[in-house]
């Protein structure tokens, strides 16, 4: 395992991009599709749940989630499930990323050809280690999201504020009932639960900062998409930027979009290998990066078969949230009862 410890800012940037990169993809479409003009309320509701979860979780422990699980069997099960779902989630995002690039800028290029730069970038960065993953996030995330903010602000001229009403959109049930399952959009919060052993900074501060910033961008981008009367699920943020005052900059969005995707994929790949290594007590996990990359690419190829349907996300959103939200709460609830004192008789710090 590596000696490098992420700084608080690096860890926060990493989490912000993991949570927000889906905004470039289908997430705004899902929220609007679910609740109509009530999408903003759904976002706020989902984030309120996420904040509440994280508030409870971080008040009970400051440790890595795996170190809280008492039994090796359950530890293995939770780790394996985390890796599996991260791979699927990463592959789904990978598939969408490449598919949109094809639509946006390179319609004549075959998908497999567009996969190469993403694959090379994620493998190189993940292989370079946690320091690289942290530093590139620390470098690119502020730039990416600042530029995005500017581009969105420049599209104000196309905003139609009546699109925000009715505020409850498709109704109370859609916003808060079915909207609850959109908590799965924040599935990558799972990575945050593994961060305490990788950073010396305050875990609680990282989590709240990342959630706050990502909430801001979720509200901003879904709001902007609503305001320009976004109807389709495809290329939501691209649609916002096309409406901006900066003409001919559509292609520049490709840079932001691809960079955000590469950041996301490199982090997912790194954490797949890291979690696997940590779960099964491996001395080193770097040799796993290439196999995991191949699995990720292969799975993304499967979802290419039906990119419009997005089978994985559509059908897993009902239970995907259980792993990062419900199970950790249960673990922290059970743990103090069963393991009040450690083996050496000292009180558990959590």
């Amino acid at each position: 395992m590596e000696n490098y410890q992420l700084s608080g800012k690096e860890a926060t940037a990493l989490m912000i991009n993991l949570l927000c990169s889906k905004l470039f993809l289908l997430a705004p479409g899902y929220f609007i599709d679910n609740a109509g003009s009530g999408a903003l309320l759904t976002v706020i509701f989902v984030y309120a749940v996420a904040f509440a979860f994280f508030g409870i979780y971080s008040s009970k422990t400051k440790r890595d989630i795996l170190s809280l699980i008492p039994s090796n069997f359950f530890k293995g099960l939770f780790g394996a499930l985390s890796v599996l779902l991260l791979v699927f989630s990463g592959a789904g995002t990978f598939s969408q990323l490449v598919h949109y690039i094809k639509i946006m800028a390179m319609p004549k290029s075959p998908i497999a050809f567009l996969v190469i730069p993403f694959a090379a970038a994620m493998v190189l960065c993940a292989y370079a280690g946690l320091k690289s993953v942290g530093k590139v996030h620390g470098f690119f995330v502020p730039i990416l999201f600042s530029v995005l903010l500017v581009l969105v602000l420049l599209s104000v001229q196309s905003f139609e504020f009546t699109n925000l009403f009715p505020i409850f959109g498709k109704g109370f049930r859609a916003v808060f009932g079915e909207g609850f399952f959109l908590l799965s959009s924040l599935f990558e919060l799972l990575v945050l639960l593994y961060l305490p052993s990788l950073t010396s900074a305050s875990f609680r501060k990282i989590g709240f900062s990342a959630l706050s910033v990502s909430l801001f961008f979720f509200v901003l981008l879904i709001g902007a998409y609503l305001l320009i009367d976004g109807k389709t699920q495809n290329l939501p943020i691209f649609s916002v930027i096309r409406a901006s005052a900066l003409s001919r900059t559509d292609s520049l969005f490709l840079l932001l979009y691809a960079l955000s995707g590469m950041l996301y994929l490199s982090a997912v790949l790194y954490f797949c290998a890291y979690i696997f290594g940590k779960t099964f007590g491996l001395a080193t996990f770097k040799p796993l990066i290439l196999p995991f990359a191949l699995i990720l690419i292969s799975f993304s190829e499967i979802t290419f078969l039906n990119p419009e349907e997005q089978i994985f996300l559509r059908y897993t959103s009902y239970f995907l949230w259980i792993l990062p939200f419900l199970i950790p709460l249960i673990i922290t609830w059970i743990k103090p009862k069963n393991k009040k004192f450690g083996r050496n008789g000292k009180r558990d710090e959590a």
Binding site: S7, M106, P117, F118, L124, A128, L254
Partner: protein, 531 residues
């Protein structure tokens, strides 16, 4: 002679017919020449010392090694050993030979020689031949006396050297116009001239088993972190090489990553830059024979900074830095972006301009990629050629390059004018890179970006930028990340590294140096503002 033999002699002529032709044998191991062990103690016997010195230095074949035999006080035999050309003849004659030979009552005891007869400020004594040979090779003169098992090493160095010139690679308008030369003693003296502080330590370490090149390790003992000093000493002490001659070679021996595309030590030929780095808490290495100092640890922003940035007022310094950054980014990215736009993203170009570009490219038989590569390679050849040719011809090469390659290539429809503009902007941008070593990095990566842009458009450029950043962020300079400024949890921010604060705001040393003293100046350094 038979006719056939005569014809053979004429038409099958070969010089010497294979006789007296020397072929160097590279297959069998050469015969080893035995050399006397130089790690012996000096003898009290005059003849023994003389014999050993003569054998070690291959006398009389070795013509520049001089042994001057004489009598001290007209009664005791002695000889001086020195290298012709490395010593000051006047000093040898006046301060050493004069008093010893001319005073008839001169005593040859150790005390007499050391205290009264050798008129030189720097004298050391030794009982080891190893030290004797090291000192003689460095330009000292060594005195052996009959009956004494101690030799005196007298510092009379006086070799020829280049005078102090303006730095070639780091010229400035404001600031000192004084650069290092190849003599490390002169260079260390230049730094001492800048830092008049008794805490400045200049340790000399000999590098290279055969070359024994002196290397000065400089640091300020009450500022620099002792761990850094220990680490650099560890690296220097563990170089097992016969020969190190230049700072560039030393850098490659002690850098963290040899395969990296970025330098990890800052090279400078300016004493003021070196002094400023030492004050900051960094260490500097000066190798004898090299006009460059190596500074570590550094962050990536140090490579983007010129000495002038500190000397001009901060708004102008920041404007210059911003323009320089644009130039640097365009030096490695512009060509790639151009090819990406031309090949994939036409919509970014206004229609009129697009038609104009297409019209100029219509007659060009090459693809945009070939056209750009042709120009980039030509530009690099011109640059390389103008560096190697004597300076009076250098400008001619530039003119020929500019006129022939540029104008004529366009007239011959080999390249389009837009490609010339792009390559020219890229070239000018690369000259804005303050660090020569970093310039190589960007020259190299520019070709990678061209290929990535040509193959995948902006997607390729994004992948290139991402991978470039990932690779750079792996690198360390003496254990400190080159991207240390990025997203760290300490007081420094990226902006504080990239841009200059007003002089009164530069209160603290950079945190990555982790110096013993964090404060560089008082919170209120301009005390006069307080009334």
């Amino acid at each position: 002679m038979k006719t056939t033999n005569l014809l053979k002699k004429i038409f099958l002529f070969s010089p010497n017919d294979g006789q007296n032709t020397y072929t160097f044998n590279t297959h069998t191991a050469p015969e080893k020449i035995s050399i006397p062990d130089p790690n012996q103690k000096i003898s009290t016997q005059y003849e023994e010392n003389l014999k050993l010195v003569s054998e070690v230095y291959s006398l009389p074949e070795n013509s520049d090694i001089k042994i001057r035999e004489f009598l001290i006080g007209q009664h005791t035999r002695a000889f001086l050993l020195f290298v012709e050309g490395l010593v000051k003849d006047d000093s040898v004659n006046t301060n050493i030979l004069g008093p010893l030979m001319l005073l008839p009552q001169s005593s040859s005891t150790y005390q007499a020689l050391h205290d009264t007869l050798l008129l030189n400020s720097q004298i050391s004594d030794t009982t080891s031949f190893r030290t004797v040979f090291d000192d003689v090779n460095m330009g000292n003169c060594v005195l052996f006396t009959d009956g004494l098992d101690t030799a005196f090493s007298i510092d009379v160095k006086g070799w020829e050297r280049r005078g102090l010139d303006a730095p070639v690679t780091e010229q400035v308008i404001y600031g000192p116009h004084e650069g290092f030369n190849e003599n490390f003693k002169v260079n260390t003296a230049l730094i001492r001239k800048n830092i008049r502080n008794e805490n400045l330590v200049c340790e000399t370490i000999c590098l290279g088993k055969e070359s024994k090149t002196p290397c000065a390790l400089l640091y300020i003992k009450n500022i620099t972190n002792p761990d850094l000093i220990q680490e650099i000493k560890h690296r220097l002490d563990h170089i097992d090489a016969d020969y190190i001659y230049e700072a560039g070679e030393l850098e490659q021996f002690i850098e963290d990553s040899s395969f990296a595309l970025s330098p990890q030590f800052l090279t400078t030929e300016r004493p003021d830059t070196t002094a400023s780095a030492l004050i900051e808490g960094k260490i500097a290495l000066i190798l004898h024979g090299s006009p460059f100092a190596l500074i570590a640890p550094v962050s990536f922003s140090d490579f983007l900074t010129t000495p002038e940035d500190k000397y001009v007022r901060f708004p102008f310094a920041n404007l210059m830095k911003l323009i320089r950054l644009i130039g640097i980014v365009s030096s490695f990215l512009l060509s790639g972006l151009y090819i990406a736009i031309v090949n994939f993203h036409h919509e970014m170009i206004p229609a009129d301009l697009l038609f104009a570009i297409e019209a100029t490219r219509e007659a060009v038989p090459f693809t945009a990629l070939m056209e750009l590569l042709l120009m980039e390679v030509s530009f690099d050849i011109i640059r390389e050629a103008s560096l190697r040719v004597p300076s009076p011809i250098g400008s001619t090469v530039g003119i020929i390059g500019g006129l022939i390659i540029g104008q004529a290539a366009v007239s011959a429809n080999l390249v389009s004018p837009i490609a010339i503009i792009i390559v020219a902007l890229t070239g000018i941008g690369s000259f804005a890179t303050p660090n020569y070593a970093l310039n190589f990095t960007f020259r190299f990566t520019r070709y990678l970006y061209i290929f990535l842009g040509a193959i995948w458009g902006f997607l390729g450029i994004a992948a290139g930028i991402f991978m470039h950043a990932a690779v750079l962020s792996m690198l360390n300079s003496l254990g400190v990340s080159l991207f240390t400024a990025l997203a760290n949890d300490n007081r420094d921010t990226v902006l504080s590294y990239l841009f200059q604060k007003p002089i009164w705001k530069r209160e603290l040393r950079h945190s990555y140096v982790n110096a013993q003293k964090t404060k560089l100046q008082a919170k209120i350094s301009r005390k006069w503002v307080e009334k």
